[in-house]
Symmetry: C2
Subunit: 191 residues, 2 copies
Amino acid sequence: MSNLNPALSLISSFAPLSAESADLLDSIMTEAVYSRNTILLEIGQIPFRFHFVKKGLARIYYIRGEEDVTDYFAIDNQFIGAVPALFTGKPSHKAIQVLEDSEIISFRYSDFEELCASKHDIEHAGRKMALFGFLEGQQRVESIRFLSARERYEELERKYPGIANRAPLKYIASYLGITQVSLSRIRAGTQ
Amino acid sequence: MSNLNPALSLISSFAPLSAESADLLDSIMTEAVYSRNTILLEIGQIPFRFHFVKKGLARIYYIRGEEDVTDYFAIDNQFIGAVPALFTGKPSHKAIQVLEDSEIISFRYSDFEELCASKHDIEHAGRKMALFGFLEGQQRVESIRFLSARERYEELERKYPGIANRAPLKYIASYLGITQVSLSRIRAGTQ
DNA sequence: CGCCGAGTTGAACTGAATCAAGAAACGTGG
DNA sequence: CCACGTTTCTTGATTCAGTTCAACTCGGCG
């Protein structure tokens, strides 16, 4: 049963869970389909839920000055959440938007925290996941620091094959930390 | 007793610990004084220990191509460790160097992992710390993406007051992701 | 003293941003 | 299904922050 839940499979790939813990986690999750451009979380809202993109594509973005900044993509089989606000309980500066019709599994973050408190193995998996997220962040820093715009684009294509045909170019440019103009030139190859 | 251990105080500020857990954590920690320029971990070594700079200054660095890249500073009362290698158990691409005579508290990371496994409250604090590290990484990404070299320098001065007089300029430049030439011009103000 | 690493300063260069204008794709209503 | 407006993408010209290369200064130390 719980094997059929891909969010649960991903969690338990970080650390094995007892059958009971797996069932508890499964029981707090709900699945729904959202259509393209649905906003899962608005800027200024307090986020309660953490999401998992079972199939589809979503992004986190925020507004910096005038511009829309894409912070993160989640594509088939990845978690996504407005992390800072979720942890602090404050209104979120970041929004979550579904970019194509998607199947999304989600759960209340407070339910997850409660399960962490009551089940040591879940807390353990949670710690491993947080560590993994930390390492991913480190890699992102290195990528921004040392790779040229073109190299970052190639890296993105390796990490998310086909994303260039699924997400609008401007969001990808903003994720890469460049302008859409530059990305357009990179793709043209004639730089 | 355990209150006198600042590394322990910092950990328990993330989540309260039982007296027993605090004692256990205290018991795996050792304190030592290292002199300026001591290398706590060489590149290529497998790291076993996690460190806490009680008083003093240390940095993490690695070699990228020909150049020495400073990844992180730890100044009075901060943790420092070769994180990726510590978690994977592989030889580290990063080294740890003490930059001024320093008092360092450290512990075997495997001891910490064992305590996490045996004491739920320690695991909980560990998860909170990992989440905190994750958020810090996010801020670092944003800083690199959007702030100019001068703004990043000003941010560093705010975060680590006085570091400019304690660490060689070239390490600071490299931490900021700029050349020492640029940093010199920024400090001169005549840009 | 003279050497050596750390820091400063100048001149030329460059990757990417900005400004601006045009082309293509997209969606919505008639 | 077409027409129109809007958004997305491309292309060109110009500008700028920060790099690179190179020479010079300063302070510490054998």
